[in-house]
Symmetry: C2
Subunit: 105 residues, 2 copies
DNA sequence: CATTAATATTCCTTGACAAGAATATTCCGT
DNA sequence: ACGGAATATTCTTGTCAAGGAATATTAATG
């Protein structure tokens, strides 16, 4: 997830969402210098967010879907909670007031 | 999203997924020092991931759902792509070979 | 085989940020 | 009003990661 935290990398991912791109194409579209793009792609690649397909001396990068599905799963583990707990906060407040009362006696 | 990149903050969020917690409780459960927890909560708060409810001299932190829904939306913008494009990579490769041919003539 | 295009890697510098330690603030009970 | 929790803030320091510039690598082409 820290791979997505960097703004330029985030942009790269959004760009690749549309279609696979070459390093040079990415650099052009995002107005970045080639070495930085290569470095960012390296990070994205090591994070498993992206995969490469070498063709001639070009390298085509595309998104992998696994990490996104994973993230989706993670988010679902929250969805459940919103529903289940209408607002557990109230419940918690009561609990606290109870504790205070006990302490007072 | 960079707020979630920090491991301790990520842990805090996962902890708060279960129920709201006090700063001290978070510090205890995650074996962190209170000041760092406060600082992390500040970041999470400014990122809109978390909200506070002061009660006595305690402060109860809970998750806000908006940013999570937002993230979910963002992820959906990808889902569409996976389906639509069986593999646009092939298409792209063809395009490249075409270009090479043109260049050769 | 020399050249050139496309990409990757290295080295260096700089800025951001997290932890630690100490201190400040706020609120309650007495 | 005072003492003590609970929490926040400040300051400093060390680390890490991103950008820039230069260079290395790989592959195609004549």
């Amino acid at each position: 997830m820290s791979a997505l935290a960097e703004p330029n990398r985030f942009q790269i991912v959004e760009l690749l969402r549309d279609e696979p791109y070459t390093v040079g194409e990415i650099a052009d579209q995002l107005r970045l210098r080639q070495p930085q793009v290569s470095k960012h792609l390296r990070v994205l690649s090591e994070a498993g967010l992206v995969e490469v397909q070498p063709i001639a001396n070009k390298r085509i990068y595309k998104l992998r879907q696994q990490p996104f599905l994973q993230l989706d799963d993670w988010l679902e583990s929250f969805q459940n909670v919103w529903d289940e707990r209408f607002d557990r906060l109230d419940e918690y407040l009561e609990e606290l007031k109870g504790k205070q009362k006990e302490h007072g006696e």
